[in-house]
Structures are given as C-alpha cells and as structure tokens.
C-alpha cells in the first residue's frame, strides 16, 4: 500500500513513545548504569567498566543455563510448531464443534503461569496425581522431584500442553483465510493431500507461522514461573533456565553489577536470534 509522507503522524505515535520510554527506556538505562559500576550502597559506587561483563561471560552458571535454555527452546519449537499445525488441520471447520474446540483449546493460554505450574505439580505427583500415578503403575519409574531427567521432561511436556494451542489457533485462523476455490481447483487436479498441504496450505500459513515461531521462541526463552513453581529449578540445576539464574543473582544474592551485565547479555541474545530469524525469513520472501 502506498502511504503518504506525513510527519504529523508523530503526534499519533507520541503517546506510545512516551509510555514505552517510561516503562522500558528508563529501567533499561538503570540496568546499563548498574552493569558498569560496583555498588556498595546508595552513595558509594565505583566505575568498573567492562569488568562485570568479563566476569559474567566466564561464569559457568551462565554457560550451563544458556546451553540448557537453547536445548529447551529448540525442543519446544520442534514439537510445538508441527503439532500446532497438525491440530489446526484436524480442527472442525464449521458449526458448534468449531467454536467449542476453539474455546477448549484456548483454555491453557488463559491460565496464570503459576497455576499452570501448580496443575502439573499436582498432576505429576506419584501419590496424588493421575499422570505420575499412571506412569508408575505401568512400571515406569517417574518422579519429577528427585530425578533431573523426569523434571526436565515434565517442564517440556508442560510447555507443550500450555502453548501448542497458541500455534494451533494462529494456524487455524490462517487456514480459514484460504478461499474454498483453491481446494476445488486442487480437487479437479486430483492433487494429493500432501500436495495440497505443501503448495496451498503451508504457503498461506507462512505469515502466521512467523508470528508463532517468534512468540514461542521469545517466550520459551524467558520461561520462569512454570519451572519455578514445579521444582524451583531443581533437582540440582536441571530445570534452571536463564531467567531463574538471573533472578537468583539479582534478588537472591543482590549482585547488582553482574546481574545487570547478565541481563543485558540475555536481552541481546534474544534480540540477535529474533533478528536473524526475521531477516532470513524476509530474505526468503524476496528471493521467491
């Protein structure tokens, strides 16, 4: 669409600009400020330059939780995106069944994150939870509170349960936007189901999938509340992801300088990955 050049439009964006400046820029500057100083109390602080960054980058805690985080986010995307597409393809298209399944699927999205943690905390226990009890009674030794592997698996399963619906709903709306004529044409050509999916549905889903992948990457990369409620990051450090390491550092130990440096590195990683993904997608767009 050709837009008109008009700098008065700035008046329309001004409220957003001011609001975000207040709620994002000022706090972010505070973080930058902390990250280059050694703070003892309100009045004594020394400028230490890049010292904290050096310290944090060599910190094994950061390395460990960063690796755990990337593996986790990778698994989340690999499971939730295909599963979400599959669920969207299976959803009924018309009538009461369609709205009913829409509402039922959306339920996990609307549950506060700590309640999600609570649900699985209860559901997975081998004494009072159906899931843990069922697994144990068919002979699988499952205990998320003491076995790191089980805890990790539970957090992943919880995330799949929690967020696949978002991908599914996005894809569902994308599918509804495909005109019936496309399918009719495909039927006349006797296109296989795979061909319909590959050449009609998938290209039409691309824009919603970009949003879905971006949102899922960013949010799984910031996961905090659910594993915190489930096991508090344990057993050991098996489910301690970046946000939790950071919160422990900033609030638990009050290491303001290193925590601030850590924050900025964290933020930059999210930005970098999202930017890489976004530019590679728009590159593909242009080459097509």
């Amino acid at each position: 669409m050709n837009k008109t050049e008009n700098n008065k439009a700035w008046f329309l964006v001004l409220p957003v600009f001011l609001l975000v400046a207040f709620s994002a820029v000022i706090p972010l500057m505070t973080v930058v400020n902390y990250s280059v100083q050694d703070i003892f109390d309100q009045n004594t602080a020394y400028f230490v330059g890049a010292e904290w960054y050096r310290e944090v980058l060599q910190d094994p805690r950061l390395h460990d939780s960063l690796i755990r985080q990337f593996i986790f986010s990778g698994c989340v995307l690999l499971i939730e995106i295909p599963l979400g597409i599959a669920v969207a393809l299976m959803m009924p298209t018309k009538g009461k069944a369609a709205s009913l399944s829409l509402i039922l699927l959306a339920i996990p999205l609307l549950i506060p994150w700590n309640v999600v943690g609570t649900i699985w905390q209860v559901f997975g226990r081998e004494d009072i939870g159906l899931f843990g009890w069922a697994l144990n009674s068919i002979g699988i030794d499952y205990n998320y509170a003491s076995n790191p592997g089980d805890a990790w698996f539970t957090v992943l399963l919880m995330d799949v349960w929690h967020w696949t619906s978002l991908v599914a709903l996005l894809c569902y709306s994308g599918l509804r936007a495909i005109p019936e004529a496309y399918y009719q044409a495909a039927r006349i050509d006797r296109a296989s189901k795979w061909a319909i999916f590959r050449y009609i549905q998938l290209p039409k889903l691309k824009s919603v999938l970009v949003i879905g992948i971006l949102l899922r990457f960013m949010d799984s990369f910031m996961i905090y509340t659910e594993p915190f409620v489930l096991t508090g990051g344990g057993p050991g450090n098996s489910t301690t992801f970046l946000s939790q390491t950071l919160t422990k550092m900033a609030i638990g130990q009050f290491d303001l300088g290193p925590a601030a440096a850590f924050s900025l590195i964290y933020f930059l990683i999210v930005l970098l990955v999202s930017w890489l993904f976004f530019t590679s997608i728009s590159h593909l767009d242009k080459s097509e």
Binding site: M1, K3, E5, N6, N7, K8, A9, L12, V13, P15, V16, L19, V20, F22, I26, L28, T30, V31, V87, M90, P92, A97, S99, S101, L102, A106, I107, P108, L109, L110, I111, P112, N114, V115, I119, W120, V122, F123, I128, F131, W133, W161, L169, S173, G174, K193, K204, S207, V208, I211, Y224, T225, S243, L246, T247, I251, S263, Y266, V270, L271
Partner: protein, 301 residues
C-alpha cells in the same frame, strides 16, 4: 466430546450410504473422505483430552477434602465438598486477590488500547521520519525478558510512589502488551482500504470524528482480538505483578503461594483458587470466540 464426534462420523457415513445408488458418486473417494474425517475427529478429540485432563484433575481436587486428596487416588470426589471454595469466598484476603488482578488487567487493557490505536493508525497510513525504526524498537520491548526489568521496575515505581498500586502493574505490563497491540492493530487497519479515509475527509469529516465514528467501528473485531490478547498476557503474568505489589494490589496468583502452611500444602484450597483463576479467561474467550479465528485472519493473512 466423544459422543459429538461419533455423531458427526455416523452422520457422514449415513449420508455416504444413501448416496451410493447414484452413479456419479465415486464410492472409493467418498469412503476415503469419510475415513479421513473420522481420523481427524479422533485426533482432535485426543488432543483436546490431553488439554483437559490436567484441568479436570485440578477441578476434581478442588471438590475434595484434604484427607481424601492425601488418602489415595480417586478419579472423582467421593465426598463432594464446597468447603475449599467457602474458604476463599469468606476471606477478604483471598477474594480481594481476584479483585486486584481484575483491576490491573482492565486498567492495562484500557491504557494499551488508548495509546496503541492512534499509533497503529499512524503506522498503517503514514510514512514519517523514523517510522520503521520506531516499529522495530517497539517490538524489541516484547522480546525483553521480564526478569531483566525486575529490579529497575521496583526502584522506578518505588521512587515515583506507585509501588503497590494497580496502576504500577498495569503500566509495567504495557511493556509487552503495547508492542503486541500495535502489531495486531496495524495488521487490521492495513486491511481497511485507504479510500474510506479519503472519502471521509472529502465529505468534511475532522480526523477525530472520522476516527471514532467511522474507522473504529470498522475494525471492532480487531479491537476485540487485541483486547483479548492484552487481557490474556496481563492476566497470566506473575513475576512483575508480584514484584511490584505487597499488600494493597497483590494479585491472586501471588496469594496462592500462601497455601503452603505449617502443616504442609493445603491442596484443596490451592486447587479451588486455581480453578477460580481459569473462569475469567473462559468468559473472555466466550465473548470473542467468533472473532478470534476471523480476527487473526483479517489481521495478518
């Protein structure tokens, strides 16, 4: 759910059998389609069961007494009780949590829509200095991990005297809701042809009357969907909401943690409180159910 699926399946099968005598129907093809439909129904039912079973378990627990919960596994409450809910509804320190949460979520939705609507209009209709940069900068805020902002938020809101108010949480949640709202609304607005704006200006409408009387009604499903998303992300967030409040504006999600008492966790009350946090979300999705699918599509596809 299962009965419904069987119903549709048998209907489709019935329709297939009555049509069989007619020559122009390809029986093999029709049979295959019925089979695919049945497989799809089984698949979606299985997935929905996977979604619902953990929630059912919570609901089940909320109607049990603690003795029954800890006494052994029962698939439904043997001694059905509403005691757990009574605990919540009779204690202001419990139910005020819901009031607090609802207050700051509503405030947040209102603030977000008020600032995001004009901004989205500007982004969808005009070119201006730094527009692309501004748009991307806004989106970067959606990517900021809330944990990064925890401490500075706490200090900022304490220093301006907003700590432990609903407004503080509402403003803090704008951090991720405003970028998202601008993003969704911009998509919806770009779907409205420019000619409508131009015709209105030629007809002598002032900008604000045009915007309020003509433009907003045109994108009302988009506004509904945006409000739904803002509600959702604000309602479920806990980390910031908990950090910025202590007593007066404490959200229900934070109050839930106190069921851990001297005698262990009060599972029944915890489950009941959890069930009650699901209800507002259900109401909201019920109102926008017809728009969510159509809405997304208008906005982005």
């Amino acid at each position: 759910m299962t009965s419904m699926t069987q119903n549709t399946a048998s209907q489709t099968a019935g329709a297939g059998s009555t049509q069989q005598p007619k020559r122009f129907v390809l029986p093999a093809n029709a049979k295959r389609r019925v089979n695919t439909q049945r497989r799809k129904n089984i698949g979606i039912t299985a997935y929905i069961l996977f979604v619902l079973v953990p929630i059912y378990w919570l609901l089940n627990m909320s109607f049990k007494s603690n003795e029954e919960i800890l006494g052994g596994l029962t698939l439904w409450p043997q001694n059905f009780t509403l005691e757990n809910y009574q605990v919540i509804f009779s204690d202001p320190s419990w139910y005020m949590g819901y009031v607090n949460s609802m207050t700051y979520v509503s405030l947040n939705v209102i603030i977000t829509l008020m600032v995001a609507l004009p901004a989205a209009y500007a982004f969808s209709r005009y070119k201006f200095t730094g527009d692309k940069h501004l748009f991307f900068w806004l989106l970067t805020n959606r990517m900021a991990p809330p944990a990064v902002f925890l401490l500075p938020f706490f200090q900022l809101y304490s220093s301006v005297g907003l700590f432990d108010t609903h407004l503080a949480v509402a403003l803090a949640h704008c951090l991720f809701n405003v970028p998202l709202a601008v993003w969704i609304l911009e998509g919806f607005m770009s779907g409205v042809p420019r000619e409508i704006d131009e015709t209105a200006y030629i007809d002598g409408y002032k900008f604000h009357t045009f915007f309020l009387k003509i433009f907003l009604p045109l994108i009302r499903s988009g506004i509904g969907v945006t409000a739904f998303f803002c509600f959702m992300f604000s309602w479920v967030e806990l980390l910031l909401a908990r950090t910025l409040t202590s007593v007066e504006a404490k959200p229900i999600a934070a109050i839930m943690t106190r069921t851990v008492g001297a005698t262990g966790i009060d599972w029944g009350v915890l489950a009941a409180a959890g069930v009650l946090t699901i209800i507002p979300g259900l109401l909201v999705i019920w109102f926008v159910r017809n728009h969510v699918a159509k809405g997304f599509a208008l906005g982005r596809v």
